[in-house]
Symmetry: C2
Subunit: 271 residues, 2 copies
């Protein structure tokens, strides 16, 4: 099992690669095909060879079986590096991508996070707009690192980043959904941000189950008028937001319906 990367690896040098963070529940990687779809679109954008998903699944299950963690409930990180190459930004023809698979212990969210919601803030760190890798889970994650350090200084669960025009884009480790009346809005991620797999699942499945769903720009100025807010990520699935800065919400009707839908589809934990 590969545990170290050489200094000339392009993941080390330039963040030239992609990653996936996958929840293992009841011993199985959850939303596997969604993770593979995102990895494939990342490979296409970065012009890397997509690993064979079946072999990657076999390797993932093998890594879980060898891991000294709760193998029924843990987290797998797949890291795809562009591989070693000569110094310089250009990839040489001979480089071969490297795949690392790491297995980590995972801790379920406290029940009260699902029941009462979590606290958030809007952070000062802005996301750059017009990124050629917008939406992808690349190894270039300094914006999230900087935003996360602001979040850590508060005692908030997550922090929202905005673009330069005060549009809310993402949490540092989650995607965000705003309910207004009967409509669920989630920020468009064509300029910046990360398209989480749980977000993709919701964007595809919510309309099919009768929810009104829109992707659009979400200026911070609309926050006071929003009725419910919830977060989504691959690990905790969906969590209600109780507070963002001064604004507070109780856990809303639509948020509960979304959480119930996830439970029906066996993609959620929590009460």
């Amino acid at each position: 099992l590969l545990t170290h990367l050489p200094i000339d690896d392009r993941a080390v040098q330039y963040g030239d690669g992609l990653f996936e963070t996958i929840a293992v529940r009841a011993g199985r990687p959850r939303l596997w095909s969604w993770h593979m779809n995102r990895l494939a679109s990342g490979c296409e954008r970065l012009r890397l060879d997509m690993p064979n998903p079946d072999r990657l699944l076999a390797r993932t299950l093998d890594a879980v079986q060898q891991a000294k963690v709760n193998q029924q409930y843990c987290l797998v990180k797949i890291l795809l590096s562009a591989g070693s190459g000569q110094r310089g930004y250009g990839r040489t023809a001979e480089i071969r991508p490297r795949v690392l698979v790491g297995v980590f212990a995972a801790t379920p969210q406290p029940k009260k996070h699902y029941q009462d919601g979590v606290n958030t803030l809007i952070c000062d760190t802005r996301l750059a707009s017009g990124s050629p890798t917008a939406g992808l889970k690349t190894l270039n994650r300094l914006e999230q690192v900087l935003a996360r350090s602001e979040c850590a200084e508060s005692d908030c669960f997550d922090a929202f980043t905005m673009d330069a025009e005060d549009n809310i884009i993402c949490g540092t480790m989650s995607n965000v959904f705003f309910v207004h009346g009967d409509t669920i809005h989630t920020p468009r991620l064509d300029q910046c941000g990360v398209r989480g797999v749980m977000r993709s699942w919701l964007v595809e499945n919510l309309p099919a189950h009768g929810f009104d769903m829109q992707q659009r720009r979400l200026p911070k100025s609309e926050l006071p008028d929003i009725d419910e807010v919830f977060l989504a990520n691959s690990q905790f699935a969906v969590l209600p937001v109780r507070r963002c800065g001064d604004r507070t919400w109780s856990v809303g009707r639509i948020t509960r319906k979304v959480m119930a839908l996830l439970r029906e589809h066996d993609v959620v934990e929590g009460p």
Copy 2:
């Protein structure tokens, strides 16, 4: 000597770190204090502890002495990683930065590059604007990797990237200077791009030596009216540009004066 990074290192996972690429000429790192200044401002922005520059110099000279390359003429890469930490974007209090020092062989530019200039193009890859790490040499370099792959498909020496508003920002591995009449313009790098040390040297020293120098936005539409173009980076110092797309130039009077100034200050090679 550290040659590998563990998978949980934050440089590997998030590109959480910085680097410097330093020219060694006559056995000495060139523009050392400029590299240290940039590294320090990067550390401040990323909230990393700046390594002691004297110890870093000792380690650099030691690495050069042990390297199986031409020790008089080579290239040192210093990579500062935020270190290993728990999974997740947040840095834990206990993490300790890691410093890697690599020494690589360097090849002087052909004389004709200095005499006749080099070919360039404007590439399709755009730089994101409003980056919280604009100007810094962080380990998040996917934009340059993507731009460089366009450059490699041409037979150009370097390729210019633009922001979304068609302003020319940087070469993939160089900064760019445009001469109009007697004035030298170089793009502002407050929204994106990398502030090269050779650029910083020129921005500080050219006005002191009677050159008229401006940092400003440089829209592509001005290119036809430009009289001379030159590139700067820490390795080749200054190179004239002979061509960008359809537009061609001969090596100009101001460019020659800048190259002469660098020779006077012993920071250039070439004829």
